[in-house]
Subunit: 901 residues, 2 copies
């Protein structure tokens, strides 16, 4: 017995498929069969299975045994069922041939409509439709679609001929071409076809069908389909099904129509039929956007019967699929047909509204509701966006964008999915100055560095020319919840800081001009586009609370300042997983430079002593804002030269001064500073004197920071508030490094408790960012001197394990993704095979020597859903991420718990 | 029953120890007991065991139960045995109290001589020796030694008093001070003692003994002893024994003498009694170097009986210890006593001669001979050294060095244990130019980089101000076998390239002045000191061949040029484990810059095509030199900016030109280059666009290199010679990276074989230097696309696993070693716990998917004996090291096989 490759869906009785057969029939085919078996009006047809496709592709384009016969049999059965015959000269059967994979790949594979037309059957179609023009137009359309899709002749050749004809006739719309001219056009199409393929346009409809099926099979492996699957992470071994379905016409007069409808509003989730349609049109006309569709409500008046039937079907499908449906329908001379149904795409806000409503309607469980929301739904719901509807409530977004093309400068990388508008300002100080006057500002920089922080905070958004999605600008923007576009140079948008100009697409923006940056797609516009503000909808908040109930991972925040703490806690953070202390150093650069450039230990101690009260004050603010939740404070991490001007900057400054006539003697101080800077300069600062290496070679810094932490803790605790400091030593690679630092920290805690006559508890732990630390965690976690907690600094851990400098790898990561050398940017999603393996070893072995070891992650990966799933699976206790990622992380933690049950 | 803590050695019958009791009795004590039991004339005494010391140290300086009684008992027994009494006024027993640990720690712990003297017994000593002056002098010496060693009063106070006395008396030699004056001096010493300690000098000899024993115990934990053990890797829990032995006097007139003798010549290994002695002297006089000792041959004439007895004893001890002995002896009034024996230290040359002879004499096995030679013996034997004997054949080296202190500039780090002399030249071009005129040159640079290579090759030695033992200068110097001192700034020796001066210790060397660098200790001298050239002695070569017989690891070489290949093969390399191709790029910088700065792919291809024949010619030379042995050729590895001038250099050049009046327009070309350099510049080049990342983003480079390799292979094979190319892809972190590159290489090999109508075999593999590679070797080694061999690039693997930049970590590695955070410099010895764990995983898992996988190491660690031992244990096939390390590696490989049996 040969395998079954062909599945019919003729009516409720003759229906060989169902919704759960997506693997075999593809999404579209399975849903067509499902609707058929529900008794809905689906044009009869059959599906050739994905298995047939896979055999075809694996066997040098040969059909499996029995497939041809099965298609013959199904076709004859369909002809009998419909009482029509393919290629018939009186009442021909016409079919559409459509691809349909298990996972929807919109636009990626091929479709042929009106198949069955030839020189003979076109007359039959004219006869039966009583519309010669319609018949010839259908034949014409079929011809070029066939030539294009099945034979690979670009449809441009055919379109050119059509345009020529319209020009000759002085006609604008296709519909005005008379039938006789269309008949001539068909002859011309035949010539084009023969010219390109050396054969006549096929008149054998059975052959047409066969070739169309083969073309659809083949389209599984086109370059764009493969690229799409790679990009979306869809396996390559699924194959596509082929849907062969009786043609239905929405363009047979004023009682015909075609449209799309959603069972609920995909923008806001409202439970109400939503959609649009065109009278006397075919599906492709809706897509082409030539005519403006009519809101679905009007169908109620125009064709009340069909409207009510659609409403009923809508209810039935939601009942069946337990989710909002996106339906395609056609009304042929007053009769409604359903051409497709599938779960509808929706905005983040709609997603939460619908999921929440479905739970309340008793249709789905809380677990299902959580899983229905995707991280990008939360992300979308969270950020302000350009309000295209305010520009033109009726036009599609694409069209609006085209209409403002003269305002469009180009695109960079979308680093924070928010939109923002403001005056373009080219330095941080000025940005702050202007923002302080309640002006909206976009900070525009070639790239940002920590000293731009105040300007970034002050601005509505940040635009940089250089850097990638994990550049300083991008990371800080996400952390502080700002719109951000980085690397605008990729879209040929140039930032000229010297002349304070932003240039792209022949547009020049001068300082103080309004610009809009759309962080959803990286677009940069001149002028102020309207935006809608961020707000996490109540339903979304509710669903996140449900997610918390199931999650094993707790979500904490990376935050450096009290206001960030409060944002994080509002978003549901259960503590602070990473507070970087160096931001406070950047705020006091003069003292820090004094410390670095000290010539004696005593001089250095004086500078360090000046920093202590400043640090203490910072920590007091943090403890107050944390409301008793644990705060993980990381001791100073960056290399010292980050606090000094660069050699190149200094050199330029000196030489510019000399060009202005200053002598070397007059510049003595600058020359001395230059010498110091050269001494401290490092070849590879990432692997140099930083992290705990600073604390070990300059113990007074660790002493000072510990003192500030514990004094602040004592002071706040005395006010009756709870405090829970966790001191985190960065960049440990050897247990002995940690022991060295812990000794200083413990001694200081003891000292302060005695001095202040107060007891408080605290923990000491380390970041795991050096591969060696992950390889020796058993030792690092062992005993009284060992760590109480670890937190993966996944950014650095990736940098070192992969040997990719975050600042430099941009030059090859893009190429690596194109060449499929890596699946994802490792600075976005944890490299599970390499780094992940280290992390898993680390957690397992660390807990063997210290069963109470708290394990978390606090790199940028802490806010990435795929990475969070991995963190769940290796048994971490916490993920820590920037405040605005917290809702996403909470959802992802819930997902991880539910998916890995 | 209490533990036994005291062991007597009175004579053959009463002897409680032996040579194999070193753990308990220390090396000195065990050997004294051994000699006693052999019936040799050893002054009777007893040993207090290391166990007593450990108890003392662990219990707040309390003796273990029974120790005091046991010492009492042993002392009484000794008194009875000797017929003398401690502190006796007629014939007092005097003893020496000496430390003696299991492992010799010369000079690290304390010794007290003449113990037992007091105001009463000194008269007894005078009486029995019939020499009042001798008695008082002995008492005086004992007093200050006791004050210094036991009580911690510096002996300087006492010496000052002695000098004062001699000055008053107008006397030069101690021996000329009359007894009466010595008696007065003793009174003065008593005053000094009381002044410092607030108590009288102790007259109770039993208390003296007790305090001396305690002082020796305590000396185990002095700072210098701890530091020494840390440095030498000696455990801290061994403790020291205390040797209490009857005093013997070599200073009782012309029939008394004291000396040291070796059973064979420690310089060249000749089998002949070697040593020196002083008549009428005590041991410390020999050490003090005040009088010139007499060669031991003269003892044959002066005291033939003692000489012959010593000769017999020498033979007996060699028989017993099966090794060359270093003996201390004293002749007291014609009677020979043996005070110590131990295995003698020797030069590398002597070590091989002695070991070889002992095998031929049937005393030791080949295995023992191999283990008797240490890697530093091979190293010492290999390099030229300063020939101190030529400066003064009679003076000790220390004295010669003092005599030329005005030529001494200071010391850097000894990077290659060789000495060299030449004219100081401050740039590579000049160095080559002058060396080409057959002048000896030392290349003196602030630091070196690859573009200095020709100058380094031309010079006799290299001196740099910056950098550590693994800096470019140090690595290249070892590879090409040059004397080298790096980091001279640590010894305050400054290199001023601008003024072409080298300054230190108030000496200024100008370009063209002679200097000598002594790579054995890092010393830098003005002038030309004599040196002796390198030569591997025949016996050493023989022993290395024996080592090869036992070794499991095969030794191959890191070598880039044909003459290095030949050196390596002469030293016994079985192939080439690493040939860096970038040296050839540096030789053609103009074309390489053309390639880098190309504006189009076509332009770039033109530059690459120009490189191909140059590369091919290089490879032809390599294949010829390799004589059919496998050559591992690594594709280009360094980041591209290494081939361009640095931003800082360019900026300086531009501004200097502008200061001279050039306009920006005139400098257009330089400004353009600057822009390019800025574009290519990386934050962390170590983790940037280099290694296979270059070959993947610029496939034409891999194509060009493969073409050059295989064309060269084909050409040489056609001449009838064997060739075995192994192509090594650098910096792989993902299996997919390797697959990408292997595809290009395999395709090129196929193409060349077809074009040239010849078949040849080759292998493709990768370096393991990125931690991720080590974590995923199973995948990298799997299947047809996988690697055939791997080679650990341990330098980079350490850099990334530890997060230590080799160029920058110098700033903290020293402190880390001082603070015991790390045991050894990880760029010298493999970090077994961290990196080693990765290496072990890698080898094990790689062989699981590819059982034929060849594994090797080719970083600098390949020449480090400890690392080689580790490589043996994890089952590597090869270690690859620089040519001049090959003999050392061969020995170490033999050691590893024998030690890990």
């Amino acid at each position: 017995m040969t395998e079954k490759y062909v599945y019919k869906f003729f009516n409720k009785e003759i229906c060989e498929g169902s919704a759960d057969m997506k693997n075999l029939l593809g999404g579209k085919g399975a849903n067509l069969a499902e609707m058929t078996s529900l008794g809905l009006p689906v044009p009869p047809g059959f599906v050739v299975s994905t298995q047939a496709c896979l055999h075809f592709l694996a066997n040098n384009e040969a059909y499996p045994a029995g497939l041809e016969e099965a298609i013959d049999e199904a076709l004859v059965a369909l002809e009998n069922h419909m009482g029509k015959k393919l290629g018939d000269n009186e009442d021909p059967l016409l079919v559409s041939v459509r691809s349909g994979a298990r996972i929807s790949m919109p636009g990626m594979m091929d479709t042929v409509l009106n198949l069955g037309l030839n020189d003979v059957s076109v007359e039959g179609l004219a006869n039966i439709s009583n519309d010669l023009r319609f018949a010839y137009d259908s034949y014409r359309r079929f011809m070029y679609m066939y030539a294009d899709v099945v034979k690979g002749v670009s449809k441009e050749y055919f379109e050119k001929e059509l345009e020529k004809l319209k020009h000759e006739l002085g006609i604008e719309n296709d519909t005005d071409i008379p039938a006789s001219e269309l008949k001539n056009l068909i002859q011309k199409y035949k010539v084009i076809y023969k010219e390109h393929l050396g054969e006549d346009f096929p008149q054998d409809s059975r052959k047409q069908l066969d070739d169309a099926i083969r073309a659809v099979f083949r389209s599984w492996n086109t370059r764009r389909a493969i690229d799409y699957r790679n990009h979306q992470g869809i396996p390559h071994d699924l194959g596509t099904a082929v849907n062969v379905m009786t043609m239905i016409y929405g363009n047979l007069g004023e009682t015909s129509a075609t449209g799309v409808a959603f069972t609920r509003n995909p923008s806001d989730g409202e439970k109400k039929l939503y959609g649009e349609y065109l009278v006397n049109a075919q599906g492709e006309d809706v897509v082409a956007g030539i005519r403006t569709p009519i809101p679905i409500e009007e169908l109620k008046i125009a064709m009340p019967e069909s409207y009510n039937q659609l409403l009923e079907i809508s209810e039935l499908l939601e009942e069946r699929y337990r989710d909002m449906q996106d339906m395609e329908f056609t009304i042929q001379q007053g009769k409604l047909y359903m051409l497709q149904t599938r779960n509808g795409k929706r905005t983040g806000i709609a997603a939460s509204q619908i999921a929440y409503d479905l739970v309340n309607e008793g249709r789905i469980s809380k677990e299902e509701a959580i899983l229905r929301i995707s991280p990008s739904d939360v992300e979308n719901a969270l950020f302000p966006s350009v309000d295209w509807g305010k520009i033109d409530p009726n036009a599609p977004v694409k069209q609006i964008k085209e209409s403002i093309a003269n305002q469009y400068l180009g695109s960079g990388l979308a680093a924070g999915a928010a939109a923002a508008t403001g005056l373009a300002i080219f330095d941080a100080d000025r940005a702050k100055e202007i923002a302080d006057k309640h002006q909206d500002v976009i900070l525009v920089r070639v790239e940002t560095n920590p000293s731009d922080f105040h300007g970034m905070v002050a601005a509505n958004g940040i635009l940089t020319m250089k850097g990638g999605l994990t550049s300083h600008a991008a990371i800080v923007a996400r952390q502080i919840g700002k719109a951000c576009i980085v690397g605008s140079e990729r879209g040929n948008v140039e930032i000229d800081e010297e002349n304070r100009e932003l240039r792209g697409n022949s547009i020049t923006i001068k300082e103080g001009d309004w610009i809009t940056i759309d962080g959803t797609d990286g677009s940069i516009y001149r002028g102020e586009l309207p935006t809608t503000p961020a707000e996490l909808p109540t339903e979304m908040t509710k669903i996140l609370e449900w997610a918390d109930e199931f999650a094993k991972l707790r979500v904490i925040a990376n935050a450096d300042k009290p206001d960030q703490f409060r944002t994080a806690i509002n978003f549901g953070a259960q503590g602070i997983g990473l507070t970087r202390t160096e931001h406070m150093f950047f705020d006091n650069l003069d003292i820090v430079q004094e410390m670095i450039l000290a010539r004696t230990e005593a001089e250095r101690q004086i500078a360090v002593d000046k920093l202590e009260p400043l640090q203490q004050k910072d920590f007091e603010g943090l403890f107050e804002a944390a409301e008793g939740k644990p705060i993980t404070i990381r001791l100073i991490d960056p290399p010292l030269h980050e606090f000094l001007p660069s050699e190149v900057e200094l050199l330029k400054e000196i030489y510019e001064a000399r060009l202005e006539g200053k002598t070397e003697v007059e510049l003595k101080e600058q020359y001395e500073l230059l010498e110091q800077v050269k001494l401290i300069k490092e070849q590879n600062p990432m692997l140099g004197l930083r992290g705990c290496r600073l604390g070990i070679t300059m113990p007074m810094v660790t002493e000072m920071q510990s003192k500030a932490i514990f004094r602040a803790a004592a002071k706040i605790k005395k006010t009756g508030k709870e405090i829970m400091p966790k001191v985190m030593v960065p960049l440990v690679g050897f247990a002995t490094e940690f022991h060295n630092q812990r000794k200083i920290i413990d001694a200081m805690a003891k000292k302060i408790m005695e001095e202040e006559c107060i007891e408080f508890s605290y923990k000491v732990g380390t970041m795991i960012e050096v591969p060696r630390a992950a390889l020796t965690t058993a030792e690092i976690a062992e005993g009284e001197k060992g760590v109480e907690f670890i937190s993966f600094g996944t950014n650095d851990l990736h940098q070192m394990t992969l040997g990719f400098s975050r600042d430099d790898a941009g030059t090859f990561i893009d190429i690596y993704m194109q060449e499929n050398i890596i699946e994802a940017d490792p600075f976005v999603t944890i490299d599970q095979t390499g780094v992940g393996r280290l992390m898993e070893m680390c957690v397992k072995e660390g807990r063997e020597t210290n069963p109470k070891l708290e394990c978390s992650v606090c790199g940028e990966h802490g806010g990435d859903p795929k990475s969070i799933d991995f963190c769940h699976r290796i048994g971490l206790d916490f993920v820590s991420c920037s405040p605005y990622r917290i809702p996403i992380a909470r959802l992802a933690a819930g997902h991880a718990a539910l998916k890995n049950k």
